[in-house]
Amino acid sequence: MSVKREEVLRAAQLAEIAVPPEDVDQLVADMARIVDYVSQLGSVPDAAVDRFVPGPPKTPLRRDAVDPIPLARPPEATAPEYVDGFFVVPKLGAMGGE
């Protein structure tokens, strides 16, 4: 297989996506299929080409002015948990703390 099981699981971890044990095999098989397919790019000779991105050649700069995009409803309205003006999540735990 072109992708290792550990690599797939590591990518899922980095992406904060939990993969139930019963789905791991299928995910690894799908990844292998896709990676095998896209690996054909490796054989494309690409000596003198830069990366290409469409769109304008340079980024416009915004004048430094207080001009916020208005919110039709406050952050609280969409927040799953909100107390005293703050978004609330569980403690950091494994993510380490300061």
């Binding site: 080409v49 990366r51 290409f52 735990g93």
Partner: protein, 476 residues
């Protein structure tokens, strides 16, 4: 040939109140509910929007015209789900730029259409809220990811709709459903308010029953936006009348897009369209887009990579359907929310995207794909700038609409549906798909691709082709 032009004119001069259009549209939506093409619509909202149009003294160019919105374009007055459980019930606190422009022109926009989850898919089978049925054959898919928008237009419920393209997600369903789909140049339409999938590829695009219908919508929504740093410094796409003939126009046929095993119905449709182009006086010749074969692979490295970052914000912290499932810390929150909220295809793409960006693989995959993208763009540039080709003509899709369930087992099989559409997305070029016939009753689509920023001219050519090729005719 434009229902929109006629409708807007009638609303403007008072012969047709927008309210009656709203009511009729609501009835049509009721009637076609079985297609599952919509995720949210409201008769009250349509009525209210129509009322505002009727009451206003000046009428815009889309006065009273219903334009459905793919449900990855944000509005404040309806939920936006992106076809995902994760955003079920989410209400955006701001409107997309394209929505503001449509409403300023008087359009009725209170219809959100079904899509593959987060726009990732080619059949609309990956929506968390059920697949969309093909408007004429319920066992088949309408294409994707903008399947809901294409189906509604094809079913005659609305004269136009917005979709979005990343790899072909408007042209492909347009081709499957027998309607027109226009992808503008990258940067021609503001992405502010389009839920991002592949940021360097995403283009809000227009679907319409005819070229002129879609063009009228594109005209309203296009033009530079200070809120999107990737928009081109240009005004709206000009509306040009269809060309009377194509004398002096050179049309290239890339041989890589006409492989020997092309579906016979698609080939027959293309043959007829090519003959029509010649009849109109165009010089038609075979050309080569050498790197066509690498387009899907290139796309399926770049788009998931960008998506993996774009979808990191869906973490259950500030919005969305949060899940804890016994989680005791933040990481648990993330994993439970994203695990439950994202469907299988989205997860696949996020994992692939993370993989190709990760340390040790970045150069071989992501950096490499960006360079191959340059080769693909160079193929088009050489034809348009050096070789005297004005436009390219190809089939839009290698097949007609396939059956539901036919391609869901193998992700790559699904990806290959995009083989003829990804090129224009990778190169940032404008392209239009229009119906060029039917094969056993199923629509066949052909597409024209043009140089960057030449939407108006491209559409004038498409209009000429449309006028002499009856899209509804059987070609086999």
């Amino acid at each position: 040939m434009s229902a929109i032009r006629d409708l807007a004119a009638a609303v403007a001069d008072g012969t047709r109140p927008a309210r009656s259009v709203a009511a009729e549209t609501a009835r049509a939506l009721e009637r076609t509910g079985g297609l599952n093409a919509t995720l949210d619509w409201s008769a009250e909202l349509l009525e209210a929007q129509a009322g505002a149009v009727d009451e206003s003294a000046t009428k815009g160019s889309l006065a009273g015209v219903p334009v459905a919105l793919k449900d990855n374009i944000v509005t404040t007055d309806q939920p936006v789900t992106c076809g995902s459980r994760l955003l079920e019930g989410y209400r955006s606190p701001y409107n997309a730029t394209v929505v503001e422009r449509l409403r300023a022109a008087g359009a009725l926009t209170a219809i959100k259409t079904n899509l593959d989850e987060f726009a990732m898919g080619s059949s609309t089978e990956h929506s968390a809220f059920g697949r969309v049925l093909h408007p004429t054959d319920p066992d088949r898919v309408p294409g994707g990811s903008s399947g809901g928008s294409a189906a509604l237009v094809a079913a005659g419920v609305v004269p136009a709709a917005l979709g979005s393209e990343t790899g072909g997600s408007v042209r492909q369903p347009a081709s499957f459903c027998g309607v027109v789909g226009i992808k503008p140049s990258y940067g021609r339409v503001s992405r502010f308010g389009l839920v991002a999938f592949g940021s360097s590829l995403d283009c809000i695009s227009a679907l319409g029953a005819t070229v002129e219908d879609a063009a009228r919508v594109l005209h309203v929504i296009s033009g530079a936006d200070p809120r999107d740093a990737t928009t081109l410094a240009a005004g709206p796409v000009e509306l040009l009348p269809p060309r009377q003939d194509l004398r002096g126009v050179t049309i290239g046929l890339p041989r890589e897009c006409f492989p020997p095993d092309l579906d016979p119905g698609v080939r027959a449709g293309c043959d007829r369209a090519i003959a029509a182009l010649r009849e109109l006086g165009a010089e038609v010749r075979e050309v080569s887009l050498t790197h066509t074969g690498y387009g899907v692979a290139t796309y399926y490295v770049i788009a998931p990579a960008e998506a993996s970052a774009n979808l990191a914000r869906y973490d259950g912290v500030r919005y969305g359907q949060r899940r804890l499932d016994g989680a005791v810390d933040v990481r648990g929150l993330y994993r439970a929310t994203r695990g439950a909220g994202f469907g299988a295809e989205v997860k696949r793409r996020i994992v692939i995207g993370t993989y190709v960006l990760s340390s040790g693989y970045y150069d071989a995959y992501y950096a490499k794909a960006q360079r191959v993208r340059g080769l693909i763009a160079e193929d088009y540039r050489r034809l348009f700038q050096d070789d005297g080709v004005d436009y390219l003509f190809t089939p839009t899709t290698p097949t007609v609409a396939f059956r539901a369930g036919e391609r869901t087992a193998d992700p790559v099989a699904m990806y290959l549906a995009d083989i003829f559409t990804v090129g224009a997305c990778l190169a940032g070029l404008p392209a239009v798909s229009l119906p060029i016939g039917r094969s056993n009753g199923l629509p066949v689509g052909g597409q024209l691709v043009g140089p960057v920023m030449r939407e108006a001219e491209l559409l004038a050519v498409a209009g000429a082709l449309e006028a002499i090729v009856p899209g509804a005719d059987e070609v086999r």
